[in-house]
Amino acid sequence: MTPLLMAQLVLTLFVFVALLSSSAVMVYVERKVAALLQQRFGPYLVGPSGLLQPFADVLKLLFKEELRPGAADAILFAIAPVISATAAFAAFAVVPFGASTTFFGLLSEPLRLQVADVNVAVLVIFAIASMNVYGIVLAGWSSNSKYSLLGGLRSSAQMISYELSYGLALAGVILIGNSLSVTDLVNHQAGAWFGFIPRWSVFVQPIGFLIFMIAGIAETNRAPFDFPEAEQELVAGYHAEYSSMSFAMFFLAEYINMVTVSAVTVDLFLGGWHGPFLPESLGWIWFLAKTGALLFFYVWMRWTLPRYRYDQLMSFGWKVLLPLSVINLLVTAAGVLYFGV
């Protein structure tokens, strides 16, 4: 085995473990930030200032009984959470999180900080995101419960509606970067205008960024768009009948999807690992900081904004966001044609 192949394997394993632990961190952050915004303490008993709370949560879930409704479709009921978790992990495979590095001369050739370098990476992310809906829909249907089914159907309707705007917002960045590889798109954002404004896509595509953020929140079923699991109406939505580890898988998938969407947003709109003060080899620190900021924003949104009504979500998606993203794409295309980026 060549050292590079070894390094690649280690990197893959690292990304897997990092994603797993990121969801644990996010559980803690979510509870702490929620407490902060509601003037409570949040978890503080397990470990120093409650740091071990996620582990306690996981242990509790592990020891719970695995229940399955009698009228459920056994095969699909078992497969659905697996599809959700797999899709969540798979999407991050093509997301680069740092510049190529030799690890301070440890390797003879530079290694890309990315599990798989695909030249159509942007589309791969989009394709896997569209696979995500199956886990939720199948969970909703196979549970054979009206709350689950309603949650699943809402989710698929929501994801189909917002995927269009999501894709069209991506297309604007692709046009400007003239590539489908995320690494190329990030490198296109290196440097600064007039020496102080970073050349990030968000400054060229502000409307695209806004559309991408909104559609991203809708895609990950987060508040204020968390209709698939609206507690007050649907008990818990598509995972109402799930318990123990299969519930944990949906939970895991939700948080990993959040991390992935934030990481993709950072890569495509916020300059990825490029930033001032740090050398290129330490760019992953910038990447982490930006992704963390976006994740905090997600949590902040959830505990600040109330849920919209379902018809509001639908009419907003089709009558506002979609026309806006089409216009944004047309203007971007015209600009690229005129200025020849």
């Binding site: 589309l123 394709a127 489908l180």
Partner: protein, 182 residues
């Protein structure tokens, strides 16, 4: 060597899944097996050095069209196909439809034989490489521009047709139930 083995793996999955699609009684399983088959097909596209086509296959067919299929199957709530044992002869098993189906099958076999024996290079992609997105885009909007536009008009017609069929007839609607929304 490795890609040969992968070809057989993906090919076997695609064929097995496609056969199972028509062998299922439960339409939801059929839909899922069809998605599996599409996934295997997109693996074959990757082996053919066409990652763009592979990803588009997933996005368009597995990600968009099949979700709508699943949606329709679930909303119709048809967990099991109707098996009319009480009828002595199923309407599709009567003489006329069987003969028609046989003729169609023969035509399909004949077309396949014709297509497979006629192996000239005319079907090859003219662009630089099938993986180049710009090459695909250029030939789609220049050489095959007419076919592309005709297809989109066809889809538009289907959409308009679906809306017309699904729309409630305003005249026959119960006016008392309609209340004030009209």
């Amino acid at each position: 060597m490795g890609s040969d083995a992968l070809f057989y793996v993906f090919g076997a999955i695609a064929i097995a899944a496609s056969l199972l699609v028509i062998a299922q009684r439960n339409p939801i399983y059929s839909v899922l097996l069809l998605i599996t088959s599409f996934g295997a097909l997109s693996g074959l596209y990757v082996l053919l050095d066409a990652p763009f086509v592979a990803v588009i296959q997933i996005i368009v067919y597995a990600g968009a069209i099949m979700v709508l299929f699943l949606f329709v199957v679930m909303l119709l709530n048809a967990p099991h196909e109707e098996t009319p044992y009480d009828e002595r002869v199923h309407p599709l098993l009567r003489e006329g439809p069987t003969r028609f189906g046989g003729a169609l099958a023969l035509a399909l076999v004949a077309e396949l034989v014709w297509a497979l024996t006629r192996r000239s290079g005319s079907g090859a992609f003219a662009g630089a490489s099938a993986s180049s997105v710009s090459a695909i885009g250029r030939s789609l909007f220049t050489d095959y521009g007419l076919a592309f536009e005709v297809t989109s008009v066809l889809i538009l017609v289907a959409m308009v047709g679906a809306v017309v069929l699904a729309r409630r007839d305003p005249v026959s609607r119960d006016r008392t139930a309609a209340g004030g929304d009209r």
